[in-house]
């Protein structure tokens, strides 16, 4: 019996390993399944209970500095708002003269960043607003400067997971402001942020602004994305690639605004 015991113990470990691997493979195969999304939402919700008290303590030390910064931003924003109000009225008047339909209106839900995770496979951050606060799946997310951040890919009642622009699976339709041409922006470790399939004859130069095109239901038009940094040589007959420097600094993002 004594000589049998070690081999039984090794067999038990192997069975447990096979069971763990089988469960892991089942989970991998179930990715995208609604049950798996609900499980992910539950884990996010549970993690928020751990993170919120820690963030509350951090906030105590930064609250005055944040207040001063917000005051300054508010004053600058008010000045810009006054200028913009005049332009909006004139724009509306001209559009109605031309018979254009009205723009979509977007409300925003402010949210604090609970954690961010960056890796070679996934870039995301967790925020403290969820379905109970009006957040829906595939909502667009911008930062305090109304610059592109990402979109909501998973939600729970009080938290949401935001897929960042820097994630390898993220795609967004953008417009280059000089030529007005539209392309799809994506990111990879090798090439950085690139707009693919820009027409070869598009007049694009370094420094041009890039904004969202408004062709999706997720992002309205004119959300600032970044600036053209380089234009790749023509590799096919009709298109070229345009490299972009992103405006958003993900290292400094502490609060975001979810488009509703």
């Amino acid at each position: 019996m004594a000589s049998k015991a070690p081999s039984i113990s090794r067999y038990k470990s192997l069975v447990n390993l096979v069971a763990a691997i089988a469960l892991s493979l089942l989970i991998i195969a179930s990715n995208g399944n609604p049950a798996m999304d609900r499980t992910r939402g539950f884990v996010l919700e549970a993690s928020a209970y751990l993170y919120v008290p820690i963030q509350w303590v951090e906030t105590i030390f930064t609250i005055e500095k944040d207040y001063r910064e917000l005051q300054q931003r508010h004053i600058k924003a008010q000045i810009e708002l006054n200028k913009t109000r005049t332009l909006v009225k004139e724009n509306q008047r001209l559009r109605s003269m031309l018979g254009f339909k009205g723009d979509k209106n977007f409300n925003v839900i402010p949210a604090n960043v609970l954690s961010d995770v960056g890796s070679h496979t996934m870039n995301s951050l967790t925020v403290d607003q969820g379905s109970d606060d009006g957040v829906t799946l595939l909502s667009g997310v911008v930062d305090a400067e109304a610059q592109l951040v990402g979109k909501v890919v998973a939600i729970s009642p009080h938290t949401a997971l935001v897929q960042l622009v820097s994630d390898k699976n993220f795609r967004v339709s953008v417009r280059e402001m000089r030529s007005r041409d539209v392309g799809i922006l994506s990111y990879s470790l090798k090439t950085g942020y690139v707009i693919q399939d820009v027409p070869k004859n598009a007049e694009v130069i370094a420094g041009d602004s890039v904004v969202t095109s408004g062709f999706s239901d997720i992002f309205p038009e004119h959300i600032f994305v970044g600036w053209v940094s380089a234009i790749s040589p023509v590799v096919e007959d009709y298109v070229k690639s345009v490299r972009v420097d992103l405006a958003t600094d993900f290292n400094r993002v502490e609060e975001v605004f979810i488009l509703k």
């Binding site: 447990n16 390993l17 763990a20 990715n31 884990v43 995770v117 967790t126």
Partner: protein, 158 residues
Amino acid sequence: MFGIIKNSILGILVLIFQWMLGDIFSIYGLTPSFLVIFIIYIGLTNSQLHAIWLGFFLGFIIDALTGTDMMGITALALSAVGYLSGIFHGRIVRIPVIVQYLLYTGFLLVFFILTVMISLQDSQFATGNIVFLILLPKTLYTLALLSGTFIVLRVGAE
């Protein structure tokens, strides 16, 4: 039972550390994995079964928190590493130090091959670039942290 509870609490703390503070240790985008160091430690010093199932659950939770599109891969990788490290439970002190560190390197390679290579299989990176620019540097960086941790905790020392 007390051992299971203690290891589980430690595992949660390591997971929280990895999730919230892991990026602080990032060098040129390469983040070490404290979870795999923890699972190797559990396998060598506690129990192979603890290491397998703790690895599975912690791997599952970290995949859910990071929002990866291949949820379950870290659970699979950590379970495998837990099993492998558990083979040397109680025997690691009898193995020469150089062989110990070769084993640790092997465990880390298994983990990173499963998590890095499979996740990046459809990326624009060539396999060689993935191996030399991501896989090996992450393995060496995590090995350095593992070495420091195990020296302090006297793992593998008689």
